[in-house]
Symmetry: C2
Subunit: 172 residues, 2 copies
């Protein structure tokens, strides 16, 4: 199945000049959704993680399914103010300004093997920040898994010390 | 397994006087997470839906796993401005003021059987709004499934015309 045919390009979203990759058409297609999750799982079966992290909020969808498939836990990494308990925070750069991501201080145990999942690898800022959060909690990142990789943004460079897998590559 | 022991109560979040039910401790426990999803699935196996809707954003976690388990599609219902394509909107009341939820205009086909999933049934405002969105697209709500129901808020009353299941009931 060619998953790239199941996503939809929306010009000028969220702002002028950006072509947004809309994954809702893939998610709504039961066969395509199952295939994407099953492919992600097979890419990391041999490195079986103890925990799957999902980055807010579309990352939650894939992280939850993968965690359930391996019968392991799922941990959310969220935008500031969303997690109710004590958090550790990591700031990263945006095109203009900066933003932060948070994880609960007790979300991971030292030494746990963590797979980080999101729908999209763009500039790599959120991915890198998430890896830093995992390391602050003394757990180990075993890799990253994305549905889509916008290769022209070279986000891979920011997390080049880890295994990185993506199902759909967008070259330009 | 007593799932209620796997959630954590956080006093005064997001504001003074509210006791927030933190599900991240359940999610991070692979056995408890798997058990919760498997219980949700068994409650609706006999009404097998064509589509599972997840309400932003914790609802995405459970909706994705259930959709994958049934090999059907998953559709997100989101806060305003998050969905990139044309949307239908529904406004609902909050304690002070109002808020809206959106769904893509082409997210559902007429007559599809839809299960609506969220982590929490509180006042029922978002649940009712989501059912209205499904009906605007001429699809059929077969029921609601929640991890937690705050019974003292009586949210069930707002969606009493549908089948409602929850795994953890909080009486007061």
């Amino acid at each position: 199945m060619d998953l790239s045919e199941r996503i939809r390009s929306i010009p000028d979203f969220p702002k002028k000049g950006i072509v947004f990759k809309d994954i809702t058409t893939l998610l709504a297609d039961g066969e395509a959704f199952a295939s994407s999750v099953d492919q992600m799982k097979s890419l990391f079966d041999q490195y079986k993680p103890d925990i799957v992290i999902g980055i807010e909020s579309r990352g939650f969808i894939f992280a939850g399914v993968l965690a359930h498939a391996w019968k392991v836990g799922m941990v959310p990494v969220r935008k500031p103010g969303k997690l109710p308990y004590k958090t550790v925070s990591e700031t990263y750069s945006l095109e203009y300004g900066e933003d932060s991501l948070e994880i609960h201080v007790d979300a991971l145990k030292a030494g746990q093997r963590v797979l980080i999942v999101d729908d999209l690898l763009a500039t790599g800022g959120t991915a890198r920040a998430t890896a830093n959060l995992v390391e602050k909690l003394n757990a180990d990142v075993i890799g990253f898994c994305f549905l889509i990789e916008l290769e022209f943004l070279k986000g891979r460079k920011l997390i080049s010390d880890y295994r990185i897998e993506s199902l759909i590559q967008v070259p330009m």
